[in-house]
Symmetry: C2
Subunit: 89 residues, 2 copies
């Protein structure tokens, strides 16, 4: 599991489409698709349903999405906090 994979997951969840998410992340489809597959493999369960139009979240994916967003937000907060301490009040 890596932060990159988590960011990829959130992008695909929000776009519902690997191609669009890839453009948003400045990446091509294959690596992004592999991120999702790796995540699903690691978690031991699919996170998306593959349809002809794209990717739709499964319940496991919905559950993961909430955590994924919190993780990314927490990382952001960590960076800002350190910068705040440093450039210090």
């Amino acid at each position: 599991m890596s932060l990159t994979h988590i960011q990829s997951f959130v992008a695909v969840a929000e776009e519902g489409h690997v191609g669009r998410a890839a453009r948003r992340l400045h990446l091509t489809q294959p690596p992004l698709s592999r991120h999702i597959l790796a995540l699903e493999d690691e978690l031991g369960t699919p996170l998306f349903e593959r349809t002809a139009r794209g990717m739709r979240l499964l319940p496991a994916g919905e559950a993961f999405l909430h955590h994924a967003r919190r993780i990314l937000a927490e990382v952001d907060a960590a960076v800002h906090t350190v910068r705040g301490v440093t450039s210090g009040h």
Copy 2:
């Protein structure tokens, strides 16, 4: 920034010593030292004070530590939640 770097940071913070943290992580000192340097470089500020006996947290490091622990805990929670959803509540 990667989860590996964050795990490395927490281990060094807790051990106060790169060598011991490396053993705990089943790693050698150099890569672990590089993880910390990379993190400090990315955050734009040192997180530890280097002493003759090891590494002591600076205020910026203390601040980062709280977030780091929360990030890792959140990742754990994400995994367990997905497993819970899957293996059916």
